[in-house]
Amino acid sequence: MKVIDLGITDYLEAYEIQMGLVKEVSAGISEDTLLITEHRPVITIGRKGSWDSILRSKEELFSRGIDVFNIDRGGDVTYHSPGQIVSYPIFRLIDEARDIHNFLDFLEAVGKSFLMQYGIISEDRPGDRGLWVEGKKIGSIGIGVKKWVTYHGIAINIDPDMAPFSFIKPCGMESVKVTSLRDVLCREIDLEDAKSKLELSFKKVSLLASAVSSN
């Protein structure tokens, strides 16, 4: 697995990179690649969502520098901004790995492993995908699949500006409260260290998954 840290990106810029890699990985030209980035402020609406989950006008959001895009991932509405680590695994699923819910489970396992590195045990909420700590959402999951190559992925709040989360109903749910690693641990978090930890969790959980499937 190759890892590329794109730094801070505009949403569409990173989306184009994802699409290019999806083609290369499905053609066998590139190996499985994990993209890591932080997005400039943006709200994205997944296939299950609509503007109903956004509580501010387009004009107000634009005046605050927040773009809004309808995108081709599963799930509802979410918010990205610097201080949130977004990871896009562009992975080719083969044989028995061709199960999209297993892949969502895999992403949750990666997120849980990442939080464990900070001593945080996240909660399972059957039916509500994502990462939950102390009843609040710290990470969101949503994927797309083309030719059994995955894109989109998992976004974890490290220390973003949390205020714009109040502009949306995260995941389309009215009562969801969101949190960040900084809020949970009550201390500053080194973002580069967090990226390394996330990369490590991807590698650990991938290794475990392949060890299990080859037995």
């Binding site: 997944g46 081709d72 599963g74 297993n102």
Partner: protein, 76 residues
């Protein structure tokens, strides 16, 4: 004539919702082209064509719920 069917997406998942047709009736399509995007709870899945030809008939509309194995379109 080839039927485009909803493949198995995951164990225990019996249906998905049509989110977006990438082609319209009458379009030429090639084997491997992504024809239609389907959605389950947290995933958007593109169904590729197994045949080249003309997209003759679209059997289900955007927003429809479709069972695994159900016909989505006819390609000939």
């Amino acid at each position: 004539m080839a039927e485009l069917k909803l493949p198995e997406l995951a164990e225990g998942v019996n249906e998905a919702v049509v989110s977006f047709w990438h082609f319209k009736e009458g379009d030429s399509v090639k084997e491997g082209d992504e024809i239609v995007e389907m959605a389950t709870d947290k995933a958007a899945f593109n169904v590729p064509s197994k045949a080249s030809g003309t997209l003759k008939k679209i059997m289900v509309n955007e927003g429809d719920t479709v069972k695994v194995g159900q016909s989505l379109a006819i390609i000939e």
